[in-house]
């Protein structure tokens, strides 16, 4: 061995990364600080300071606790979130179990249809659900006719719980199905070999192994429901936390501290829920499938089981499809009130949507594309810095970008308003009223999704592929451009589509930030339409457009990813 004297090493060797990488990291850090750290920091600052002065105080929180309305809202938000998890589990468990454990015709269909609710914002479904399940909706009208009673599916908090659980149960379905599929068959066989079978086998082996997947899905549902603003507002439920925060800021003004206090409570609830689920999941990555191991054994159902199984699946799928069907009917309906089905049909709503209201669609396409673009650029850069460099503090970038997950949309909206309202352009317009602010908020909100996708894509690329390029004379930057990015293309596209399609239907932050109708995206237009009875038709038409838009993007990206994987020989 020859010892190289350290003194002769070039100076650059002792730096943790190249100057270019350091500059990139600093730029990302500045972006995150400005558009995530600063607004959230402002919210925290206002909540903890005395109004008018800048003295630290807890009096705002004391006021919060003392106000009966706020405490009731807190309890209601908690209750609705918890019950939504319960009902979402009731929908998801049988679907997941049936499709992964039995030879089940249409298992693919169930899994795909299960995604359907996610491509439509929950508040859009809320209107359609009113039409089917409301006090004077189709189901209750029929029940009343036939049996002389009605069921309050949509009354008050129940309505929110119903809409949210139908909307968000796919999160549990997806995670739980994946967990069930990832159990190595040998895990089950080893238990059978040692004398275990039936329900005991399920309770002792299958369920504990799938539990992490279930918990991941359930905590996500809880946080999403807790943060959702538009659904309760549209169902006219105001005594929940997110609507209260919105109402305080929009009706009393951005100087009132209560909106900020509620925001802090929302953040704490999100963080605690995520922290608890992370705690429960710690050290429990149970994905146990070995190469070629295959998932759990599937059983054929007996006749009785099959009838019961298909019955349950059809019932749940009918529920899942109800909002979509309702929306479609509504978008073509002339008048639909106090009758099980619309009176007559028309295409006038679509004409209106594509005519005077096409600005919403145009804005959405622009905003969501830019937000998605920002997200994948940041996502690829952060993933590369974290996984491929030894830059000091690189994990902090990842951590900071992912922290956006814990910030409810309404809180980010309030933070942006407060922070950027004071900053004005030379002509006097506040920064907060520019449409680019909406785009930045969307980009920050969806960054965690794109980042995960880029991360996963980069992790799959062997470092030796890059080393081979460097060995043949490519610099770091050229290696990234010619080797890394092309190989990551599928993952990047997946990240873009996730960001794009979720940004396209995002409302919580947007509702705060839209200043004029001409700057409004589709989700905002939908919300405005849906608030009046006359606007429901065009609103529904806009909703159908949104659903088709998102569905089309998802489908296209799926096709492209599949094709590129096949071309690279990575497919199965």
């Amino acid at each position: 061995m020859t010892a190289i004297p350290t003194a002769t090493l070039p100076r650059a060797r002792r730096l943790s990364a190249t100057p270019g990488q350091i500059a990139l990291a600093l730029a990302i850090a500045a972006f995150l600080l400005l558009f995530l750290g600063l607004p959230v920091g402002t919210v925290l600052y206002v909540a903890f300071t005395e109004k008018g002065t800048s003295n630290f105080t807890l009096v705002n929180f004391y006021d919060f606790v003392r106000t009966e309305l706020f405490m009731r809202s807190l309890w209601n938000s908690f209750y609705v979130s918890a019950m939504s998890v319960v009902w979402a589990s009731v929908f998801a468990l049988p679907l997941a179990y049936l499709t992964t454990r039995f030879v089940f015709r249409g298992a693919m269909l169930v899994q795909t249809l299960g995604f359907l609710p996610l491509i439509m914002p929950p508040f859009v479904g809320a209107v359609a659900m009113q039409l089917f399940f409301g006090r004077n909706g189709s189901i209750n009208l029929l029940l009343d006719d036939w049996f002389g009673f009605k069921i309050g599916f949509m009354e008050g908090l129940n309505g929110v719980i119903f809409v949210q659980s139908v909307h968000y149960f796919p999160f549990i379905l997806i995670n739980l199905s994946a967990a069930l599929r990832n159990i190595d068959r040998a895990m089950e066989e080893a238990a059978q070999n040692l004398g275990s079978s039936g329900f005991r086998l399920f309770r002792r082996i299958v369920f504990p192994l799938a539990l992490p997947g279930y918990l991941a899905g359930a905590s996500l549902v809880f946080v999403k429901v807790f943060d959702d603003l538009a659904t309760p507002l549209l169902l006219n439920v105001k005594d929940m936390l997110a609507p209260q925060a919105y109402l305080r800021v929009t009706s009393i003004g951005i100087a009132d501290p209560m909106g900020y206090v509620i925001s802090v409570v929302l953040i704490v609830a999100s963080v605690v829920a995520m922290w608890l689920s992370a705690l429960a999941l710690k050290g429990r990555d149970y994905a146990t499938t070995q190469r070629g191991g295959g998932g759990l054994a599937r059983r054929t159902m007996t006749r009785g089981e099959a009838i019961l199984g298909y019955g349950v699946v059809i019932l749940i799928l009918a529920l899942v499809l109800a909002p979509h069907l309702g929306l479609l009917l509504l978008s073509f309906a002339t008048i639909w009130s106090f009758s099980p089905l619309p009176d007559a049909f028309t295409t006038a709503h679509y004409a209106r949507v594509f005519g005077e209201s096409s600005i919403y669609i145009k804005n959405t396409l622009i905003y969501a594309s830019i937000a998605g673009g920002i997200d994948i650029v940041l996502g690829v850069a952060i993933a590369y810095l974290v996984l491929r460099t030894k830059l000091i503090g690189r994990e902090w970038l990842d951590w900071a970008a992912s922290a956006a997950l814990a910030i409810p949309g309404v809180v980010l909206g309030i933070g942006y308003l407060r922070t950027f309202y004071g900053i004005t352009l030379p002509d006097g317009t506040p920064l907060a009223s520019l449409w680019i602010t909406i785009v930045l908020a969307l980009a920050i909100r969806r960054l965690p999704y794109a980042l995960r996708a880029c991360y996963a894509a980069l992790q799959q690329i062997s470092v030796s592929l890059e080393e081979a390029a460097e060995n043949l004379g490519a610099t770091k930057a050229r290696t990234v451009r010619r080797i890394v990015v092309p190989l990551m293309a599928g993952g990047i596209l997946a990240g873009f589509v996730t960001s794009f399609s979720t940004a396209a239907v995002e409302l919580s932050a947007t509702l705060m930030l839209v200043q004029s109708n001409s700057d409004a995206p589709l989700a905002y237009g939908l919300y405005v339409f849906m608030q009046s009875a006359a606007g429901r038709g065009p609103g529904a038409a806009l909703g159908v457009v949104a659903v088709l838009l998102v569905a089309l993007c998802t489908f296209l990206s799926h096709l492209i990813i599949e094709r590129s994987q096949k071309a690279k020989g990575m497919g199965h």
Partner: protein
């Protein structure tokens, strides 16, 4: 060593009778018959896809035979579900449950059998001591090395005192050094417990070193059953000869009669046959590399048979030198002991392969 009592009940036999199994059009097991004796360490040996794991899983009850039956201790168990068979299986992936500690994993089978709490504790401790892992009882499987995981899997299986122990490629996930150590441990354990054990492997060295008898399998059929030495010395067919160790195979046909009778090897070389040599129709000539010698072209062995050849390859293996020589159209391997100072045959040189008549085996497919 720990004082582990051997089986309280006598070891049992395992009989497989006329088993056929198909997955759709794929005929995986073709009329398999095997008789495994009580207390025997038995191997299913064959290349991947030969049906050996399918057969093992059939014994454990994870596969159902189309025809035929499996008897354990003379009792037909074909109709029993896996959890009523009382055959312990160690999985290739170990299949340790990650949500349970080592001790809970080992206790599982005892708990399923309704064994009392104190007794479970006692037997878990015994089973873990047996594999030398008593000190790791409270660890999670993910905190153990591959070798340790393998031993936990064995402890978990023997803790329930099964009638038969099934090992599905138990060494395949270990590195080469661990493999040698663990296979000895497995052999010792089996000897101490006196348990009828079936071992599935594709590695002939593993099977040869630890098993009493081996069933060589190929294409869903048992090719030959015997002790490792029997299989090596007297392979029943070309597949067995080739699969166990290196075999030279020369294609040709018998020509002439009486003193003129000889074996005409493809490529024009003739090998005289003694009058008492029995060559089945269509058979090929088989011999092991170490049963032949390479000499200079002039030298002629006494009663040996000589084949002219050209040296094509030479590999130094330490104790011996392996030559690849061209005999007619076939390349043949010949091992010569390495002695320092002795001249080696050069590549491209003419030479002679000499064979003793006793070393010749005549085999067909």
């Amino acid at each position: 060593m720990n004082a582990i009592a051997p089986l309280t009940t006598p070891a049992v036999s395992v009989d497989i009778e006329g088993v056929n199994l198909s997955y759709g059009d794929n005929h995986v097991l073709k009329t398999v018959d095997l008789a495994i004796r009580p207390g025997e360490f038995f191997a299913f040996l064959g290349p991947s896809g030969c049906g050996k794991t399918t057969l093992l899983r059939l014994i454990a009850g994870f596969n159902q035979a189309d025809t035929g039956r499996v008897l354990i201790g003379g009792k037909d168990i074909s109709g029993l579900p896996p959890w009523k068979r009382d055959v312990g299986m160690v999985f290739q992936s170990y299949a340790l449950w990650p949500h349970m500690t080592v001790a809970r994993n080992v206790a599982f089978g005892l708990e399923e059998r309704g064994v009392g709490r104190e007794e479970v504790k006692r037997r878990v401790a015994i089973a873990l001591d047996l594999v030398g892992l008593g000190h790791l009882a409270e660890r999670r499987p993910s905190q153990l090395s591959g070798g340790q995981q393998q031993r936990v899997a064995v402890a978990r299986t023997v803790a329930v005192e099964p009638k038969v122990l099934l090992l599905d490629e138990p060494l395949s996930n270990l590195d080469a050094k661990m493999r040698v150590q663990v296979r000895r441990e497995l052999r010792d354990l089996q000897q101490r417990l006196g348990l009828t054990t079936i071992f599935v492997t594709h590695d002939q060295e593993e099977a040869n070193t630890i098993c009493d008898r081996i069933a060589v399998m190929n294409d869903g059929m048992v090719q030959q059953v015997g002790t490792p030495m029997e299989l090596y010395e007297r392979p029943a067919n070309l597949f067995v000869a080739n699969f166990l160790g290196t075999a030279n195979i020369l294609d040709g046909h018998v020509v002439g009669a009486g003193a003129e009778r000889h074996f005409a090897i493809d490529g024009g070389i003739r090998l005289p046959l003694s009058e008492d040599a029995i060559v089945p129709a269509g058979a090929k000539l088989v011999f092991r590399p170490q049963h032949a010698a390479l000499t200079s072209p002039a030298a002629l062995a006494g009663d040996g048979l000589a084949l002219p050849c050209v040296v094509a390859h030479r590999e130094f293996l330490g104790a011996s030198v392996r030559y690849g020589v061209q005999v007619g159209e076939t390349e043949v391997a010949v091992d010569m002991p390495f002695q320092s100072g002795r001249d080696l045959h050069e590549i491209g040189a003419q030479a002679t392969v000499t064979l003793s008549p006793h070393a010749l085996i005549w085999l067909s497919d």
